[in-house]
């Protein structure tokens, strides 16, 4: 399958009063046509920033650099502002975390939907309206035609998020970046929205870059998973590999925080990862997770590359294979 996104060594630097903040420190990944890559990590791990930098939607003071950052074979970093504007919302669209505030309160749903398509394609208002109604029905909104004249404040959070999804689909994009699309929604609505995304992805053959901190979401959605910690990927692989055989102590820690029906004994304590994410200001050496890692040793002070574990399964940890295997067995036992 063809890669629609290829990124090598993506870095984001933001000057702050205390020094240089390095929230994204050398990410390498690709996304194939029609697949879902889930980037999972704690708040502040840099996952949203990475997604925004792919669209070059960060404020000007943020310095984005990469050895390679291609979308559909074109270098994103070399695009002019107008080329970027032509790409955004057209070939690469975004779904946001906060449906309550992501829509402009002063314009109707219809206006905001029609606007995207008319911006990127030479279609009449009538055609764009028909497309909007078609997509609103697709995302499960009833009486779609009459919704067009409604304002965001007249819709519930779940409905608004459906509108935001329909808006992202207006131009039939090749890639959808979904930044925590269900975090702000009720649990029942979350499941519906995820199901919907999955269906739409198959129907329209879109790739999805899904940013989340919720491993439950990852399990439902991901073809491949990248576990992010302190601006780096610490483990990448297929969803099956990462869930069945988590190698990195951080991934294991994350997984141990989730109760498993039938496995987690009633009354037993759920796991938690002690400590907090280290400061990302200034240069960093060594494994970023070592201060919180139960298996850390002296070697963790050296920089660790992302190394192959098995086929597509990579990890960033100094522990040798036997040590990791035994830890991994312990973790899933």
């Amino acid at each position: 399958m063809t890669n629609i996104v290829e990124v090598e060594n993506l870095r984001v630097k933001i000057p702050v009063s205390a020094g240089m903040l390095n929230p994204v420190r050398g990410l390498t990944f690709e996304i194939k046509k029609g697949e879902t890559l889930c980037v999972v990590g704690e708040s502040g791990s840099g996952k949203s920033l990475s997604a925004f930098s792919l669209m070059k939607l960060l404020p000007k003071i943020a310095d984005i650099s990469a050895d390679k950052m291609q979308f559909m074979g074109r270098d994103i970093l070399k695009m002019s502002p107008s080329e970027l504007q032509n790409m955004r919302g057209n070939r690469m669209a975004m779904i946001f975390q906060e449906p309550m505030t992501a829509l402009n309160p002063s314009y109707t749903i219809g206006n905001q939907l029609v606007e995207v398509l008319r911006r990127h394609q030479n279609v009449s208002v009538k055609e764009a309206t028909e497309r909007a109604i078609y997509l609103l029905e697709k995302v499960g909104i009833t009486a779609a035609a009459s919704r067009l004249s409604q304002y965001p404040h007249q819709l519930s959070g779940g409905l608004r998020q459906r509108v935001v999804i329909a808006m992202a689909l207006m131009c039939g994009p090749d890639l959808i970046i979904a930044d925590e699309p269900t975090t702000a929604l009720d649990v029942t609505i979350q499941a519906q929205i995820l199901h919907l995304l999955k269906e739409l992805q198959e129907e329209f053959e879109m790739a999805i870059l899904l940013i989340t901190h919720d491993l439950g979401v990852v399990a439902r959605m991901a073809d491949r998973v990248a576990v992010m910690y302190a601006g780096e990927f610490v483990e990448t692989g297929t969803a099956e590999q990462v869930f069945k055989q988590p190698v990195h102590p951080y991934t294991q820690g994350l997984l141990s925080c989730i109760p498993v029906p039938g496995k987690t004994a009633r009354g037993s304590r759920l796991g938690s990862i002690p400590g907090i994410v280290p400061s990302l200001i200034g240069d960093m050496r060594g494994c970023a997770f070592r201060s919180r890692c139960p298996h850390a040793n002296g070697a963790c002070h050296n920089n660790v590359p992302l190394e192959k574990w098995s086929d597509d399964h990579f990890k960033r940890c100094v522990l040798d294979d036997t040590a990791l295997t035994s830890i991994a067995k312990e973790a899933i036992a």
């Binding site: 970027l84 946001f96 992501a102 829509l103 402009n104 309160p105 314009y107």
Partner: protein
Amino acid sequence: MLIYSLKRLLLAILVAITVSFISFSLLFLAGDPAIAMAGEGATDQDIENIRQLYGFDKPVLVQYFDWLLRAIGGNLGESFYFKTPVVHLIAEHMPVTMTLGAMGITFALSLAVPLGVLAAIRPNSIIDRIALLISVSGQALPSFWFALVLVVIFTVTLGWLPASGSDTWLHFLMPTVVLSYYAAPAFMRLTRAGMLDVLGSDYIRTARAKGLTTKSVFLKHALRNAIIPVVSLAAVQFGFMLGGSVIVESIFALNGAGSLAWESIGRNDFPTVQGLILVFALIYIVLTFLADVLNAWLDPKIRIG
């Protein structure tokens, strides 16, 4: 929207009644109006005659309702000084003040809103600094001083503009600039702050992520939301310009309602002052009402409850 407007209208009427009562009672604040009307050297009998003639011996509430009914019928009494109906005096002087106010508010908005938008788009840039300079100096320079500077430059030195009178539109140029220069800073700062606030919001990020052009992001998505508080302020400022144009009117010898009010105070011409206060207050109330309705129309959350 209709229900909202009706509620606002009811509120406006209540305020108008309150204002009319205050305006009415002003006549009694300065002591016995009969003594004031009779003038110096009047005998007690003269004062008593005036008191009966004008009904000052009746209970205050009765007097108020008499006065209110007459006011609604367009009779605001007779000026002590000119001995002509106050309504005629106001009708004669109001057009100049209204023209000046309308020109002032238009000029202020058309200068301040674009500058405020530009300043917000490029915060801390040269444009932002210039806008800040203009607004600080606009607020700091007293308008009488600024007016005189303009007169020295454009009338005395260059001879381009007339410095007094209200015969042609040229006469209104300098007064307009002076009046709006005082009002513009507030609009500019409010537009800038509103734009900065809105530009940081999620829906602007959405608009950018949709690939909309910069122009569309700023003007369609940001300004529309940022302008709402400016509308309210504009209504208030317009009312303020009408009532507060006294200094400008007297410097440029514009025979408007502002200078009429100023002179009438000096002449103890209570009915005229009272009438002017009532008219200004009513204009103010109408403007505020219109601003509320316009705001509701701009903000769908109010329009469609």
